[in-house]
């Protein structure tokens, strides 16, 4: 079973995302900020990380840069999932090592289509 770490400071968003990933057959962990997510990754690297941008303590982009520097930190497929929807943010995310980018609001179709393009799930 593939694993997914859902990183978002909103409990509601985590719940919605978790339902989507559950349906797609993932085992899910949750983190409410980048620091908690980082600690979770050091314990065990997930296959996929769904990552919010704006969070207290450590934000998404700081977490991503830190993750990519860790041993094994290149492996997880990182999908940003944020209300930031301008070109500059998208480009910053991609150059910092994100694999995909979802602009909120999102739905199950969008998540599925992104994951299947990334080859994480079957089309």
């Amino acid at each position: 079973m593939k694993s997914c770490l859902i990183v978002d400071d909103s409990r509601v968003i985590r719940k919605v995302a978790r339902q989507i990933f559950d349906t797609l057959g993932f085992s899910c962990e949750e983190a409410e900020d980048g620091k908690v997510a980082h600690a979770a990754c050091l314990k065990k690297m997930p296959d996929v990380i769904l990552l919010d941008w704006n969070m207290p303590v450590m934000n998404g982009i700081e977490f991503l840069r830190a993750l990519r520097r860790e041993p094994g930190g290149q492996t997880p497929v990182v999908v940003f999932c944020t209300t930031e929807n301008d070109l500059n943010h998208i480009q910053e995310a991609l150059t910092s090592g994100a694999n995909e980018y979802i602009m909120k609001p999102f739905d199950a179709d969008i998540v599925r289509s992104k994951l299947s393009q990334l080859g994480v799930i079957e089309a």
């Binding site: 929807n85 070109l87 991609l94 980018y101 739905d107 969008i110 299947s116």
Partner: protein, 289 residues
């Protein structure tokens, strides 16, 4: 809705678009036609039906047909038909059309244009191999509104996230306002859109090497399917390829086409021999043009 009103609308839509509406689609009719009634300042679908009977106003009939036939579309819908284009058909065409250096593609139910633009994006990704080639992508749709949308190349944030990898969004779109995205000019220039009805004469549109006609036949009854496929067979080059949707086939519908071996969803003209087109020897190619 009264049964006679349902029949009135469904016959009208069938005649003009080929779309078959069965009784279980009454809810769809109601949800799609209520805004049309409102646009014409009519309170109910009853009133709309009465107005259709009394006046047969061309614009109103058109509004009704368009409301019933607009479908959602995605970029790179189903992915596979675009992989097949890039990996199987394009390399073949680069050889078989090496002398003519022209490729023509028809997106036959273009809707809001995503299929045509997806093909344009692929061709742009392969631009190095197509230096000096003329590639025409032609998109038609029954709906004037859809054709306008397709031409504008403007999509909502939702639409650009379904099927479109973010790297392509960054490369081929520009943001318009806060949550709309427009296909960049260099890609829009590769595609031409115009109104076209698959049930009527296609007019002087020429011949095509590839026709995409996906998820359209499913809405037609058997005789209409046959008619449309036979009309398409006449505008396809002898070694051309037809793409149909996953739930569609030519088997039992027409003798003009046969499935292409090992390539699901692809069909070729029956007269054609072998699984792939005969490839003439490529002439010596200059480095660049």
């Amino acid at each position: 809705m009264k049964p006679e009103d349902f029949d009135l609308f469904s016959v009208l839509v069938k005649q003009r678009s080929g779309l078959v509406l069965t009784r279980d689609k009454a809810y769809l009719l109601e949800s799609r036609l209520t805004p049309v009634a409102r646009k014409w300042n009519l309170k109910t679908l009853d009133d709309l039906a009465q107005s259709v009977r009394a006046k047969r106003d061309e614009t109103m009939l058109r509004d009704i047909t368009e409301a019933m036939t607009t479908n959602e579309s995605f970029f790179f819908r189903d992915q596979k038909p675009f992989d097949q284009f890039r990996q199987v058909l394009l390399p073949q065409l680069l050889k078989s059309r090496a002398a003519k250096r022209q490729i023509r593609i028809w997106s036959a139910a273009a809707s809001s244009g995503q299929e045509a633009y997806s093909l344009a994006i692929i061709l742009n990704e392969e631009a190095a191999k197509l230096q000096g080639w003329k590639v025409d992508i032609f998109g038609t749709d029954l709906s004037a509104e859809m054709v306008e949308r397709a031409k504008s190349g403007i999509y909502s944030q939702f639409e650009v996230q379904r099927g479109l990898p973010v790297t392509f969004l960054v490369k081929y779109f520009q943001q318009v306002g806060t949550d709309r995205w427009q296909v960049k000019d260099n890609i829009r220039q590769m595609v031409q859109f115009r109104e076209g009805n698959l049930l009527t004469d296609f007019g002087p549109i020429g011949t095509f090497d590839i026709v995409y006609c996906r998820n359209v036949l499913i809405y037609f009854d058997q005789p209409t399917k046959t008619r449309v496929l036979e009309a398409i067979s006449k505008v396809l080059t002898p070694d051309g390829t037809l793409f149909l949707g996953g739930a569609e086939t030519v088997l039992g519908v027409t003798e003009k086409f046969k499935p292409l071996e090992n390539e699901r969803g692809l069909y070729v003209l029956t007269g054609r021999t072998g699984a792939t087109a005969p490839v003439p020897p490529a002439p010596f190619q200059a480095a660049t043009v």
